[in-house]
């Protein structure tokens, strides 16, 4: 079973561009990325798009489909009617390089700001952890770095000048992951999230959780618990007193 679908794909570069109309064949069982590939192979050999695994595991083919941040490879054509025009545009929160490809270097810069895992004083092979304890961090380590959460978060999407101060949901879950790691030797992850990552700017609208293709509960399981720990430490008078008289940090 096949039909001709109408697509509008944004074509252009940093200097500007426009939506270009295409009519293109669609077959049973295909996803949006298949259609983009068909456009490349038959109508527009230089249409720029990132992709790798085509199975939702690498997080390369992020774009916006009818305005929604999505993975092109995990969006089935059967979710649209044959009459619908499907609009594919690049991630809006990042600068365009060409067509559907954006400059996501912001994310790599933020990744480098988070203090790395601090290994405990144990020989390799001597690490012991319980499954139930590693599972909390494992949820966040499922992240495929598609950056759809970064794209949809209004703190950065609508306010370019926030990018300096705000790390974005992807890197707040990285902080939470390290905070919950049973053997991470640092105890200042929550403080870092407050002081350096701008966790306070998140107003818990859960848009990041909604677009996560890995269904990570970014807001409920990472950001809210981290916010609570930040608040707990800052405003608990005993903790405050402890830090002042040097009993222990944070």
């Amino acid at each position: 079973m096949s039909y001709d679908a109408r697509f509008r794909v944004w074509r252009g570069d940093a200097d500007g561009g426009e939506l270009v109309d295409y009519t293109v064949e669609v077959n049973d069982g295909e996803v949006v990325l298949d259609i983009i590939h068909r456009l490349q192979a038959t109508q527009s050999g230089d249409l720029a798009v990132r992709w790798n695994c085509k199975a939702g595991k690498c997080g390369s083919c992020s774009a916006e489909i009818n305005g929604m941040p999505r993975l092109l490879c995990m969006t089935r054509m059967s979710t649209f009617t044959e009459a619908e025009t499907i609009t594919v545009t690049p991630l809006r929160a990042f600068p365009v390089i060409r067509d559907l490809v954006t400059d996501v270097s912001f994310n790599y810069a933020k990744a480098r700001q988070i203090p790395a895992f601090a290994p405990p004083d144990l020989a390799p092979g001597e690490y012991r952890m319980q499954q139930v304890d590693v599972e909390r961090s494992q949820e966040f380590r499922k992240c495929i770095e598609c950056f759809l959460c970064q794209d949809t978060c209004h703190v950065v999407r609508d306010h370019e000048d926030n990018k300096e101060a705000f790390a974005g949901p992807r890197f707040l879950i990285r902080a939470a992951e390290l905070d919950m790691h049973p053997l991470d030797a640092r105890d200042d992850r929550a403080d870092f999230a407050r002081e350096e990552q701008g966790i306070g700017m998140c107003n818990i609208t859960k848009c990041c959780t909604e677009v996560c293709p890995e269904h990570i509960k970014i807001t409920d399981n990472a950001i809210i618990p981290m916010k609570e720990r930040v608040a707990g430490r800052r405003y608990d008078p005993l903790v405050w007193l402890g830090t002042k008289i040097g009993l222990r940090r944070g």
């Binding site: 069982g29 230089d46 990132r50 085509k54 939702g56 690498c58 012991r128």
Partner: protein, 640 residues
């Protein structure tokens, strides 16, 4: 042309940012050398993320009988004794420390009840051996090493103020040529930025190839667009050798429907965790396909096979867990005999064998993948699966201890792009351990080589740079040439149909004729648009690599007149001990490929002694067997 050429200087250049490349980079940087990593994609997207099942390492956490000797033995059996035994030995010995090291980088593996790293069963492995994280182990491995690299950069920033002073990642750069001095020693590499199309030149006396495999030469494949055999072709053009190129692994279980996802991998863990293969008559057909060399090691009844999952000490494993080549051929035979599933595969059933909660816990990404892409709920229905091109055992001929490539000083290779380790067939789980063990060895080997040069740097002639630039721009010069996408599709179809899972001399010869034709046509490609992020241009340049490796596969496949592992000849269906001791070596010969036989070094006596004479008799010629010392019964005390 040269005015826009960027130039960088490094001690060690790593081409490829999958598991092997990242581990090599960590080793080179920790040896104190200035190291650059070239990523064809974004950092952290490499194909390693697709590895699902786990990392094979004989830590003995789940069954304390495991040891490096048992792992070595399984690896040699899996490769049908064609493996480089020295690589298999190093791999089995060093895999556990490489895995434990990942925990010090922050990796979080699934745990045993006593808190150690959990290990799962997998095809061809005698004991539960695969360290894993659900069914997304490759992602964990990549992310862990990506984060380790960031952590080394943070160290450098504290020390020098510049995080990239000793370790820099060049994302979305493709290398098109290696640069060599007039004597042939490596001097660096030449490539382009995908983003801008601008050229970039790296001067470095050591280059580690870690570019992965060649799957994009085949139509049905689990591999991504990056898998175009770049490192294989770079090594060939630089004058090195490729070994074992006739051995291509078709993973038995790829998705077969819908067409757009045909070939995408369905992890072997489905079978390791209890899933079974059935034909259209509902029969568990694998019991009919246990070959002689494995008879006695696998269950003969469904009841025994089923008991093995809970009591592996007194029962034998089910034949669904035979090495991949055996399972892939069995599925192929069932489909050919008309007992396939509606879309030309067979059924992989875990729904009727395990509780939904257990399936969701152990195979979450498989559940997700089938739900999203095929609208199949694997907790309720069987999956339809069939063979898909997954891995090439063949690759650059390397020195086992240092990963130095044959014949080209300064060139190293690790991971899928290297050859020898897996012989004629790789066991599941041995890829992630391979890239850790030999990635680390390649990084160390390259560092030692550079230190041995004592400050001397091979220099490349300007004419070599100009030629590399001209070759890369050729597709823009031609008008009215062919569309690279069309050519690529024809090549994939050719390899799939004529040099695929079952081969004959007549078909391979036809493939070689078509490849000659495609090679000639590939000289006249036309790409539209300009150099900025232009996939048509990128494909045109990758095609030359895919054509070269395809020719290697076909020529070696034609020469090897036997069936072994990932090379099945319908006209020579038996495994022939006379072919066991011979490697086929491909090298560049003008515009084509030359293949020659090369005898393999005899296995060291203490390693031979790990096998029973009866088993050796299945693989060795009578003359070889007579030369085996009579004490050749296993003496490691680890049982078999």
């Amino acid at each position: 042309m040269t005015a826009e050429l960027e130039q960088f200087d490094y001690d060690v250049l790593i081409v490829g940012a999958g598991g092997a490349g990242l581990r090599a980079a960590i080793a080179a940087r920790e040896a104190g050398l200035r190291t650059a990593i070239i990523c064809k994609s974004l950092f952290g997207k490499a194909h390693t993320v697709m590895a699902e099942g786990g990392i094979a390492a004989s830590m003995g956490n789940v069954n304390s009988k495991d040891s490096w000797q048992v792992h070595f033995r399984d690896t040699m059996r899996g490769g049908k004794f064609l493996n480089s035994w020295r690589m298999a030995e190093l791999h089995a010995k060093e895999a556990p420390e490489r895995v434990w090291e990942l925990e010090t980088y922050g990796a979080l593996f699934d745990r045993t009840p006593d808190g150690r790293i959990s290990q799962r069963n997998f095809g061809g492995h005698e004991y539960p051996r695969l360290a894993h994280v659900g069914d997304r182990t490759g992602l964990e491995l990549i992310r862990t090493m990506q984060q380790k690299i960031v952590s080394l950069q943070q160290d450098d920033e504290r020390e020098s103020g510049d995080p990239e002073s000793r370790l820099k990642v060049f994302a979305e750069v493709t290398i098109t040529d290696l640069l060599q001095d007039p004597s042939g020693a490596v001097a660096g590499a030449f490539g382009y930025w995908r983003e801008s199309g601008r050229f970039v030149r790296f001067d470095a006396p050591a280059v580690v190839l870690a570019t992965g495999g060649i799957g994009k030469s085949f139509k049905v494949t689990s591999n991504s667009w990056e898998y175009t055999g770049d490192g294989h072709a770079l090594a060939l053009r630089a004058g090195s050798n490729l070994v074992n190129m006739e051995f291509v692994q078709f993973h038995p279980t790829g998705m077969v429907w819908p067409p757009s996802v045909k070939g995408i991998l369905v992890t072997e863990s489905v079978r390791g965790d209890g899933g079974v293969l059935k034909n259209s008559e509902g029969k568990r057909f694998m019991f009919d396909y246990v070959p002689d060399v494995f008879r006695g090691q696998y269950a003969q009844t469904e009841e025994e096979g089923d008991r093995w999952y809970t009591d592996p000490d007194t029962n034998k494993r089910p034949p669904e867990l035979l090495p991949r080549d055996e399972v892939a051929r069995a599925i192929n035979s069932e489909v050919k005999a008309g007992r396939g599933s509606p879309h030309g595969g067979v059924f992989l059933d875990i729904a009727s064998r395990r509780a939904p909660e257990e399936i969701l816990k152990k195979l979450p990404s498989m559940h997700h993948q089938f739900k999203e892409l095929a609208d199949v709920d694997i907790t309720k229905e069987p999956m339809e699966v069939g063979p898909t091109c997954h891995y090439v055992m063949g690759g650059v001929e390397v020195d086992p201890d240092t990963a130095a490539a044959a014949r080209v000083p300064g060139l190293f290779a690790a991971g899928e792009v290297s050859g020898g380790m897996h012989g004629s067939n790789r066991l599941g789980g041995n890829s992630l351990s391979d890239l850790l063990v030999f990635g680390a060895r390649a990084g160390t080997g390259a560092a030692a080589y550079v230190q041995g040069l004592g400050g001397r740097r091979p220099q490349v002639d300007q004419a070599v740079i100009d030629a590399a630039a001209a070759a890369a721009l050729a597709p823009f010069e031609e008008e009215g040439g062919e569309n690279p996408y069309t050519l690529h599709q024809e090549m994939q179809q050719t390899m799939n149909d004529l040099v695929g899972i079952i081969r004959t001399a007549e078909e391979i010869e036809r493939a070689l004729e078509r490849l000659e034709d495609l090679k000639a046509r590939a000289e006249h490609l036309t790409v539209e648009g300009h150099r900025q992020f232009n996939p048509g241009w990128h494909l045109a340049l990758d095609l030359r690599n895919m054509l070269a490796v395809s020719e290697c596969v076909a020529r070696a496949a034609l020469l090897r007149q036997e069936s072994r592992g990932g090379h099945t000849r319908d006209d020579f269906p038996a495994m022939d001990p006379r072919w066991r001791g011979r490697n086929l070596i491909c090298s560049a010969d003008g515009d084509g490929i030359a293949v020659r036989e090369q005898p393999m070094p005899a296995m060291r006596e203490d390693l031979l002694a790990l096998f029973e004479t009866d088993e050796l008799a299945k693989y060795l010629t009578p003359e070889e067997l007579a030369a085996v010392p009579t004490a050749a019964t296993h003496t490691d005390g680890s049982g078999s």
